[in-house]
Point group: none
Chain length 228, copies 2
Amino acid sequence: MTRILVVDDEVPFLRALGVSLRARGYAVELAKDGPSALNLAARGHLDVVVLDLGLPGMDGTDVLRGLRAWTSVPVIVLSARHNEQAKVDALDAGADDYVTKPFGMNELLARVRAALRRAGPAVEQPVVTTGHLTIDLASKRVLADGRTVHLTPTEWHIVDLLVRHQGKLVSQAQLLREVRGPAFERETDYLRVFMAQIRRKLEPDPPRPRYFVTEPGMGYRFQAGDQE
Amino acid sequence: MTRILVVDDEVPFLRALGVSLRARGYAVELAKDGPSALNLAARGHLDVVVLDLGLPGMDGTDVLRGLRAWTSVPVIVLSARHNEQAKVDALDAGADDYVTKPFGMNELLARVRAALRRAGPAVEQPVVTTGHLTIDLASKRVLADGRTVHLTPTEWHIVDLLVRHQGKLVSQAQLLREVRGPAFERETDYLRVFMAQIRRKLEPDPPRPRYFVTEPGMGYRFQAGDQE
DNA sequence: GCGGTCCTTACGGGCCCCGAACGGCCAGGA
DNA sequence: TCCTGGCCGTTCGGGGCCCGTAAGGACCGC
């Protein structure tokens, strides 16, 4: 499910956006100030953020910077200011798009679709197969020795990340950041439990992992090839 | 060099854009109709396309579709039409951004920067190969004589540093500072142990190092291939 | 209230870091 | 020639960190 975070201090407007987006089948989180927006973002994976710049208290650009410190999630900035310099500042601070109020709901939805489209097929490698495993990233299905295996959302999230970076080493910090949020980078206990669970489900010989290997002190790696 | 294609039928406007972009250090191609735009795009790699929708003859959205048939290069659409449906159509046809005329040059430049930033900074050469060694900095993986070699975090840290500065001398102080912290710059005993370990794992003839050479009293150096 | 999922905690074991000690090489001096 | 001191390479062992695993509690859906 595609998750979208909407940040705006005008509650009616916020609710209207939430309704429109949910009607399109997105999972929507709402926040009406900066700190709670960052909190929600830290809580788990997001696919798009829609961010109003005119927030009371914490400025919208500060929220943007707070996000950019650890994630590259697409951010669409909303603002009543038509001032060119404001646009330049927001875009250079890491915004992906800048829409001036008032705007049409259809335009915003189209820009959300554009942001999702860009992020999605960036790494287009829907199916990965090894001797024992078949992992279909698009349809979120995994076969081990021909039998379909059920993965919980968190397990899938980790597998997805590792498989997308196949061959490369992914640090525990990065995995934790993506799966649980930046506040949990150090909680490596958490990861070990899930890696064990994943291996129990997917590895032919869980105590001696062949595909989901760990590099002590550094991170984890998914290797598809059969090379030693 | 970053290459940008600008497509517009109003020649003065086209020239003005070209000048501004070139002044920023981009390599700019100009086209004033659809067919020549597609031709130029097919001719070689582009990093961004700036596309006016109001072209005579071939419509701008057709150019967009022509591009999207084979490339995912970022496209920023320009248009005099404020009509919302036009924006939605262009974005859904694959545009990455939609800017209505008139617009400020600085805004366009900021949107170009945003598009380039999204596409990802051109990843530099992360793989170094010599006669016996293959060192993949991105994957954190090392092959010696075709076999993958396991490096501990500290060993990898040192190898990474030396390979990134390949050919250049890296002082013991710098290595120690990076690996253990600034308080340990003098503890050269420490380094010798790790260099020995690294050579034992990676050098074809550890007592006579070929790649990880020491410069007595100064530091260490990684030299790829072509020794002597 | 029940199954599934998430998260925490505890424990045993293996490996990594790191200090220390020793030997080799070289240059300089008595 | 022998000694000495500086710098380097190598080996070894202990302490501590990191990892895998199991068990159980918390939370949320149906």
